[in-house]
Amino acid sequence: MSNAADDMIPLTLAGDGASVNIEGPRTTTSLRFRRSPLASPEEQIRQLEAVDLAVGPTQSGNFFADVSHSGWPTLKPAQLDIFQINLGKLCNMTCRHCHVDSGPDRTKENMDRATVDACIEAIEKSGAHTVDLTGGAPELNPNFEYLVDRVTQMGKHVIDRCNLTILTVRRYQHLPAWFAKRGVEVVCSLPHYRKLGTDAQRGDGTYEKSLKALKMLNEVGYGQGDPRRKLTLVTNPVGAFLAGNQASLETEWKDALKKNHDVSFDTLIALNNMPMSRYLEWLLEKGKLDEYMHRLLDAFNPSTIAGLMCRNTLSVSWDGKMYDCDFNQQLEMEIDFPGEERLHVRDFDLDKWLQHNIRTERHCYGCTAGAGSSCGGAITE
């Protein structure tokens, strides 16, 4: 499967950490590259609002109204457990469902060292026990290893949200052993344990590269039950349906990957796709947005509200702005701190964070559907 070209990323790092011409599995291009109207958050929200949604608890299609009706007159944070940093939109892949609209062309949005340092200071003040790194491919940010080193030295649990294929690129092949040494949890995207769905969503050749990367992680001790070498896989539906039962899927995935490829992992998390960005584009192209929104509303589950990730997570973007989650971040819904203040991460204040009201729009129905969906997987079993 592999040839020399596959193994090389012709990476040109600019002064700001941007890089260009990254080779990797491709199934589409970014909305921004195509100048699609859906590249704008306003257009995405307009499309969601245009769906006639006279279903759900209040039959209003208003997420906050449905939450209030379910016994939550306000939606506020509980406590700050997870400090999530989106290091940038640059990625070697262009997956069809990407909510970040990442891709090789997103070279400009990359967190610089000053903002990384501001995050580190904020992490110290936050009391968060976990630092969750995402992107794009977070590994492509030139400050990635610096950041991981600093926060692991602070005793924080670090999660790298990894697309797997990046680990097969020569420049990044040292990372599995490097992660193992620092006890970094690797949370990897793999939509299906078989080839068909994985390549359909993430690009031809992704499955083979993903297996290669998983074997590299297994070889350095990941996926064998060691809490310092935790390997988590993330599945999300390859289409217009909801995530299956996480526990049931995990058993099957473990058996199938072991039997077919001698690959092991520790945990499977199952996420719903959020109706936004490139997944929203796909739903609109298929004429399935209406059906999908009704599916989410029909499955509205009030018992997921307490465990919503916006209640225990702070999400910071590459330019240091603060959000309730990575989805709100991509929709540019910045946190309104008390007094309608918008703060940069260098001015992070835990008390203000605890007091703010979480911002919601219709995409939020993705997190309350079925067993619920968060960056940590299902919310209720």
């Binding site: 068909l196 599945t235 909801l242 299956g244 039962n245 049931s248 099957e252």
Partner: protein, 110 residues
Amino acid sequence: MDTYYKPEHLPKFGTIAEGNKELADAFFAYYGKVFEDGALTAREKALIALAVAHTIQCPYCIDAYTSGSLEKGADLEQMTEAVHVATAIRGGASLVHGIQMLDKVKDMTM
């Protein structure tokens, strides 16, 4: 009634309780129990249901268990194999009766 099959009947399946709630409740409780993870996984049961749906040629069931199989983590290749299992059994069921024909032919002819 302009047509025998209507897609909107599937999501209304529960309204069958209007005529007899007790029997409907008993049926749906049993139905739900059947499809839980057991000695067979929920995915395996969804694939069996998909194959049976093709055998009995029930469009409601094909609709429901195409979605159901995907949601339970099956992919197109697995689902197509399930449909071929149904097809093989159906075809085989016809063909094996050919032995009855063969016996009869042998009985009746020189």
